[in-house]
C-alpha cells in the first residue's frame, strides 16, 4: 500500500496499512496505586495536563452485568471507577497515569490496567501503612518495578522512612521515598525515581 514512509521508527506492533488521519504518539503508562484516600488521584492531578478523568470498567464481562448489584448477591460483574491522566512528553510520546481502584479484590481490573506499564508508584499514608500491603504484594508478584512513596500530608511524616521500609519488607533495591502528592515537581520526581529503578533493572537484564 504505498503509504508515506514514517519519519519515525514504527512505535507500534501493528503498523496498519490503513491511512490514519493523524499518526498517534507512542503511548506508555505508569500506575499509581495504594489504599483508599492516600492521594492517588491527587498525585495524578498534580502532573496530568488534563483534569483526571474517571472511566468505568467491568472486572468481568459487560454481557454478564446487571445494573443493580444489590439485587444480585452472586454478581459476576462489578463496575469500578478508574482515574487517569496524561502527559504529552513530546509529539511522539504520551504518558498515561492510571490510578488503580483501592481494593485488592479487583485483581482482574488491576491486570487490565497494569499490563505493559513501565512501573508503579505505591502511595502510602504512614498512619495507615497496611492499606498499601495488597499493592506491594501485587507488584512484587507481578515483577513490575515500583517505588513506595509516603505521602507527607502537611509535611507530616509519622514514621521515618527506615521504619516504613522495615514494615513493608521490600527488597533493598525498591526505592522508598517521601513526597507531596499535591506538588507537581514532587510527583514528577517520584515518577522519575520509579523509572530510574525500572531502567536499572532493564539495563541489568540486557
Amino acid at each position: 500500500m504505498g503509504s508515506a514512509p514514517s519519519p519515525l521508527p514504527s512505535a507500534h506492533e501493528t503498523p496498519t496499512d490503513l491511512a490514519p488521519a493523524v499518526r498517534p504518539p507512542l503511548p506508555v503508562k505508569m500506575v499509581v496505586a495504594g489504599g483508599f484516600g492516600v492521594g492517588k488521584t491527587t498525585a495524578v492531578a498534580a502532573v496530568s495536563e488534563i483534569e483526571p478523568l474517571t472511566t468505568e470498567a467491568s472486572i468481568t464481562e459487560v454481557a454478564a452485568g446487571i445494573d443493580d448489584v444489590s439485587l444480585t448477591p452472586n454478581k459476576t460483574t462489578t463496575t469500578v471507577a478508574m482515574d487517569f491522566g496524561c502527559l504529552t512528553l513530546d509529539p511522539t510520546l504520551k504518558l498515561y497515569l492510571f490510578g488503580t481502584p483501592g481494593q485488592d479484590r479487583f485483581g482482574f481490573m488491576w491486570d487490565d490496567v497494569t499490563e505493559g506499564a513501565l512501573g508503579a508508584l505505591v502511595v502510602v499514608d504512614s498512619r495507615r501503612l497496611d492499606d498499601c500491603f495488597p499493592a506491594v504484594d501485587y507488584f512484587e508478584r507481578k515483577g513490575m518495578p515500583f517505588a513506595v512513596a509516603v505521602n507527607t500530608f502537611d509535611g507530616d511524616l509519622t514514621h521515618p522512612l527506615d521504619a516504613v521500609r522495615e514494615a513493608l519488607d521490600v527488597a533493598d533495591e525498591v526505592p522508598v521515598l517521601c513526597f507531596d502528592a499535591r506538588d507537581q515537581g514532587s510527583v514528577r520526581d517520584s515518577l522519575v525515581i520509579v523509572l530510574e529503578h525500572a531502567l536499572a533493572r532493564a539495563v541489568a537484564a540486557a
Binding site: P20, V22, G65, D67, L87, Y96, G119, S186
Partner: protein
C-alpha cells in the same frame, strides 16, 4: 507491624473506595452496552487501555453512513486518543469501546495502534520518558533542582 504479620482484614477492605466517589462519572447501564455490542464481550480483544485509536481517512469520509456509537467513536477520533479517553468522552464502558473499535478496525474505518509488547522494559523508551518528565516545567514553589 510487618506486611506478613498484618495483612488487612478482607471485610474492612471492602469499605474502601466505593465506586463513583472519586469523580462524577455516572454509572452506565450494563444492559445498553450489551445491546450495542450485540452481546459480544471484549475478553478476546485484550486491547490495552492506552491503545491509540485514530480515524482513517476512509472512516472520516464515511461518517454519514455510520450511526450511534460507531459514528461517535470515529468522530471523536479525528485526533488520536487512547481507548480510555474514548470511553470517558463518550460515556461508554471501556469494554464496549474495545469491541466497537475492533469492529471499526475490521471495516477499515479506524486505525488501532496496539502498543508494542516489551515497551515497558525498552531501555530507549524508559530514557525518553525520564528525559521527558525532567523537561516538564514545574510550577512556582515546587522544587525543580537538578
Amino acid at each position: 507491624m510487618t506486611r506478613q504479620g498484618g495483612r488487612p482484614d478482607p471485610a474492612r477492605r471492602q469499605e474502601a473506595d466505593p465506586v463513583g466517589t472519586t469523580h462524577g462519572a455516572e454509572r452506565a447501564s450494563a444492559v445498553r452496552p450489551f445491546m450495542v455490542t450485540e452481546g459480544r464481550v471484549a475478553a478476546e480483544a485484550g486491547l490495552p487501555v492506552e491503545t491509540q485509536v485514530v480515524a482513517t481517512v476512509e472512516g472520516l469520509g464515511q461518517l454519514g453512513a455510520l450511526a450511534f456509537e460507531r459514528r461517535a467513536i470515529v468522530e471523536v477520533c479525528g485526533t488520536p486518543l487512547s481507548l480510555a479517553e474514548v470511553a470517558v468522552k463518550l460515556r461508554l464502558h471501556l469494554n464496549v469501546v474495545r469491541v466497537l473499535a475492533g469492529d471499526l478496525r475490521a471495516s477499515r474505518l479506524l486505525a488501532v495502534h496496539v502498543p508494542r509488547s516489551g515497551t515497558s522494559s525498552d531501555i530507549d523508551v524508559l530514557r525518553r520518558v525520564i528525559d521527558g518528565l525532567r523537561a516538564i516545567p514545574t510550577s512556582v514553589g515546587s522544587r525543580d533542582a537538578d
